[in-house]
Amino acid sequence: MRMLRSWQLLVGALAVLGWGGGKLAAQNPDTTRAGGDTTSMWENQRVYEERRAQLVQQLHEAQSELSELRSDRVRVEARVDNVYAQALEQRARTLLMSPEQSALLQLDSMLASAQDRMQDQRDRMQALGDAVRRRSGAVLVVLLGADSLPDGGLSDVKVVLDSSGTIDRGYSPLAIEALQHGAVDELYRGELLPTSHDVFMTATVGGRQVERRVSVAVKEGTVTYLQFSVRNEQLVPSTWTSRGTSPF
């Protein structure tokens, strides 16, 4: 390829130079006519001066034309480069088969995505089916405790499990006293499918509403505890599992 481009450039350059060189050669005969007597010496001198000025003028013009030619040459070179690049691109497209490749990539991507989804479905549903077969339940217990409570206490506690169903709780002064002494309120206890569950809690702590949404993985054959603790006016979640710590 490099070889081909060099030849093309060479041909172009020669063509330009040949045209410019011809024009200069046509002016050479006029510069050889000079000489004669003194009278005519002044005359000659004048003629010379005129001729010289004329030649200088011509020289300037020639230089100017040369500059233009140089610009033309750059433009021609650019055009050649452009045509060459387009030709290359076209060839590359032909060789790479880009449209086909692009379509295939899209197809592959769609299939890969479907495959991922199906794999996820298979694994999850197989695990759920196995859990049912083994009759090993999964229990989720949602608790509320209070490590520290500001003035204004705790009220309007709401828990939403998996974006549906709400448990509302209000707390009497005695219930708050119990929380402050380390008691915990069981907000929810129930058998669920052993998968990830979304728990959203809101509460008014010290007159300010706070909220927390957590996703907790409930494991089969265990009791999964999710405790929200009121600490520094925030709901701080923690989770752990135990075996057999559910009366049913």
């Binding site: 070889m3 060839r91 060789l95 088969m97 086909e100 490749q101 295939l104 592959d108 769609m110 299939l111 890969a112 995505s113 479907a114 495959q115 199906m118 794999q119 479905q121 549903m125 197989q126 759920l128 089916g129 049912v132 009759r135 339940g137 608790l143 405790g145 209070a146 490590d147 499990l161 549906s164 169903g165 448990i167 005695l174 119990a178 929380l179 002494h181 380390g182 008691a183 915990v184 309120d185 929810y188 206890r189 129930g190 058998e191 499918l193 927390r212 957590v214 907790v216 993985a217 494991k219 009791v223 505890y225 603790s229 600490r231 989770t239 752990w240 599992t241 135990s242 057999g244 710590t245």
Partner: protein, 751 residues
């Protein structure tokens, strides 16, 4: 589970899933690309959510949490829920965890409230509190005994000790009260709770050890608080040392208290002051104190009677007559009614109204005779029905309350806020708050109110006076034990019922979870269908692509062939040019020129060979193009996806089958645990029925005895009225001569 909402949540979740399923069916029209996850909504939700890491496994923490839930249940007045959990925990192997975690804080939540892990002592303490609150005193005593032997239980000794003292005092075991008083420890703050001292003093008083009781009351008074005034009152009574002749000393001690005491306690103080003043012969003071008792309060009957007697003794006969008559009219059920009526007639008689007294006594005799006749007309079955009704309404206790008329029965409410605060403080190891309310004095009004509110209600024909007639001593003693047995049986039934409900609800939640799985299967089947559509479209696309690729392959091949030909042509041209130059330089070229030309020739030859090489292996090269390799890999992927699709479908079908099978099993037959719970409930009900029968039999027998006694009383009262009438007739006959002297003699004979 007594908290509503768990099942509601499950049902709501199922509804949401069903909604999602319906939405998914509609979304089948939406282009597949639009259904891909990762939309803006999904991102927004993900932004709010905290993904908790894999939970740690901790048996210790699980058991600790269960205990703390029970603590909350107790504080929230759900002792049944607490007891159910704690009894299960005590009987399970999990309790072993508590032996190894005593006092440690490993794995527990941070914060001052959870500074230590739970121990077996905590479990036993909460269990004892549950029994105590539910009135299961036998179980309470057993667990309290076990607690006393458990390491780490020292912190609970003051609280549980006080409760044991109360229990012993209720049972009249004053020796045990005093023994416990010596062993009950101090609070964490180093002070002894005032309640043990008060109970110690009361027990000593009951034993007749007045000096010791006064010492105990002095401690209570020194500590102050809600029990101090009551200790002052009891101290005044103890000062008499059981000798009514020293009533004046006690009265002096009570005067200051009577002036400042308010409410029911103030009434109580004034009533006792009135009685002491009467005993001391200070009738005016007795009247003043008795009138200080609120007219509509529970102690008003006794105050009115005391007032009548004091007025009578003081010689204010019209006022005495009015007081006695008022008592008889207002409190017709009390045993003292006829005493009051007789004294009203007597006051009339002594007041000079012999004719009025005669007719009053006659009317009374008639009235009593009618009542007696009605009582005798009562069939044994009616009394038995009354006994059964009272036991069914769990109101039999009102027939056995001691001294409700004079306010000597105290009640210490178990579930009061102060007691709960004390329990919480003991659990967390902090200082217990002082008691907020003193003992409640049981009055006649309480009995009347309880009787009125009991369900079922006593039949209107039932002679209610029997309930106010003192119980037989043996019956009263037997009642305590049988009533306790029935109370225990009631709680056992409630507990068994609670357990059945919990098992049933757990079963419902299992069913709901399986229904959720079925919905999930349906949801995934829909998703699978959309994935199948993707694969089908991919298959079609791939087929079309193969045709297009065949054309593309030829195009590439031709392009390459053209390049090969051109390269070969240029290589040949170069070779010719080199040959020409070489010929031109023949003889004049230097060695370097030859070398250069050789190099150029070699280069041209290489290009030519390269082109030939490419031409030879062109088909192989084209076949190695990534596009054709990709087609093959997509075909492989498509086959894998097909296989995966079939696999998922098979998994979903299996899940659906297993869920359906499990659901059918759960719906067709209860779990063994539910059956066990129902059996336990049936057994508890049988025990309760037996306890009920025992108590009904006891009350029935005692009511019959009381009926006989009441009939005897009425007979005597009728005779007394008839005697009064005859007496009045005598005075009327001898009026005016000697009447005053005769009345004076009669007054001397009045007890």
């Amino acid at each position: 589970m007594d908290q509503p909402g768990y099942l509601a949540i499950l049902k709501a979740r199922l509804e949401v899933m069903a909604g999602a399923l319906a939405a998914l069916a509609l979304a089948a029209w939406i282009p597949l690309a639009a259904q891909q996850p990762g939309g803006s909504d999904a991102r927004a939700v993900a932004g709010l959510r905290t993904e908790l890491g894999p939970p740690d496994s901790s048996q210790t923490r699980g058991v600790d949490a269960e205990l703390r839930i029970a603590l909350f249940d107790l504080a929230a007045d759900r002792p049944l829920a607490a007891l159910n959990r704690l009894e299960w925990l005590r009987s399970s192997a999990l309790a072993m965890e508590l032996d190894s975690t005593r006092g440690s804080s490993a794995g527990m939540a941070s914060g001052p409230a959870a500074a230590r892990g739970s121990s077996r002592a905590d479990l036993l303490f909460l269990l004892a509190e549950s029994y105590n609150r539910l009135g299961m005193v036998g179980s309470f005593r057993e667990v309290a005994g076990a607690l006393a032997q458990t390491p780490g239980a020292e912190r609970y000794a003051p609280v549980v000790g006080s409760q044991l003292m109360l229990d012993a005092y209720r049972r009249g075991d004053f020796a045990r009260v005093r023994e416990l008083a010596r062993s009950v420890g101090s609070t964490p703050a180093g002070e002894r709770s005032p309640l043990p001292n008060l109970l110690d003093g009361l027990a000593a008083y009951q034993q007749g050890k007045y000096a010791e009781s006064r010492a105990a009351f002095a401690k209570v008074r020194a500590e102050g608080g809600v029990y101090a005034p009551y200790a002052q009152l009891m101290d005044a009574l103890a000062q008499m040392g059981g000798d009514t002749t020293r009533a004046l000393e006690a009265l002096g001690a009570l005067r200051s208290l009577a002036q400042v005491a308010t409410g029911t306690f103030g009434d109580h103080v004034r009533l006792i002051a009135a009685e002491l003043a009467y005993e001391s012969g200070q009738y005016a003071s007795a009247v003043a104190n008795a009138r200080g008792v609120g007219a509509g309060t529970g102690l008003a009957p006794q105050a009115l009677l005391a007032q009548g007697w004091a007025l009578y003794r003081d010689g204010d006969l019209p006022a005495a007559r009015a007081a006695f008559a008022e008592f008889a009219a207002k409190y017709p059920l009390l045993p003292e009614r006829d005493e009051a009526r007789l004294m009203a007639g007597q006051a009339m008689l002594e007041g000079g109204d012999a004719a009025g007294a005669e007719s009053y006594f006659d009317a009374m005799a008639d009235s009593v005779a009618m009542e007696l006749a009605a009582l005798r007309a009562q069939s044994p079955a009616q009394l038995s029905n009354g006994a059964r009704t009272l036991v069914t309404a769990r109101a039999a206790g009102i027939a056995f309350v001691n001294f409700p008329r004079d306010g000597k029965t105290l009640a210490f409410p178990e579930g009061s806020a102060s007691n709960i605060s004390t329990m919480l403080a003991a659990f967390s190891g902090s200082e217990a708050p002082p008691p907020r309310s003193g003992p409640h004095i049981v009055s006649v009004a309480d009995i009347a109110q309880r009787l009125q509110s009991s369900k079922p209600n006593l039949d209107a024909s039932f002679p209610r006076r029997l309930l106010y007639t003192p119980a037989g001593k043996e019956a009263a003693q037997a009642y305590a034990a049988r009533a306790q047995t029935l109370a225990d049986a009631d709680v056992r039934v409630a507990l068994a019922n609670y357990d059945v409900n919990e098992q049933v609800e757990a079963n419902q939640m299992k069913i709901a979870a399986l229904e959720e799985l079925q919905l999930l299967v349906a949801l995934h089947e829909k998703r699978l269908a959309s994935d199948a559509a993707v694969m089908s479209a991919s298959r079609d696309s791939l087929a079309a692509m193969r045709t297009a690729l065949a054309r593309g392959r030829e195009r590439v091949r031709q392009a390459m062939l053209r390049r090969v030909a051109e390269t070969q042509r240029m290589a040949a041209a170069n070779r010719a040019m080199i040959d020409s130059v070489r010929r031109s330089l023949q003889g004049s070229g230097v060695a370097a020129d030859d070398e250069t030309l050789d190099m150029e020739a070699q280069t041209a030859a290489s290009f030519g060979q390269l082109a030939s090489l490419v031409q030879g292996g062109l088909d192989t090269l084209v076949d190695r193009h990534p596009v054709f390799a990709m087609v093959d890999s997509i075909a492989v992927r498509l086959r894998a996806a097909d296989s995966l699709h079939d696999e998922v479908r098979s998994v979903l079908a299996a899940d659906s089958a297993v869920a359906g099978q499990a659901l059918a099993g759960l719906r067709a037959k209860e779990s063994q645990r539910t059956t066990d719970a129902r059996n336990a409930l049936a057994a508890a009900k049988r025990e309760r029925d037996a306890a009920e029968r025992d108590l009904v039999a006891l009350l029935d027998a005692d009511l019959h005895t009381r009926a006989v006694e009441l009939a005897g009383e009425l007979q005597r009262d009728r005779e007394a009225a008839e005697y009064g009438s005859a007496n009045a007739a005598f005075f009327r006959a001898i009026e005016p001569a000697g009447g005053d002297q005769a009345r004076s003699d009669a007054r001397e004979r009045t007890p």
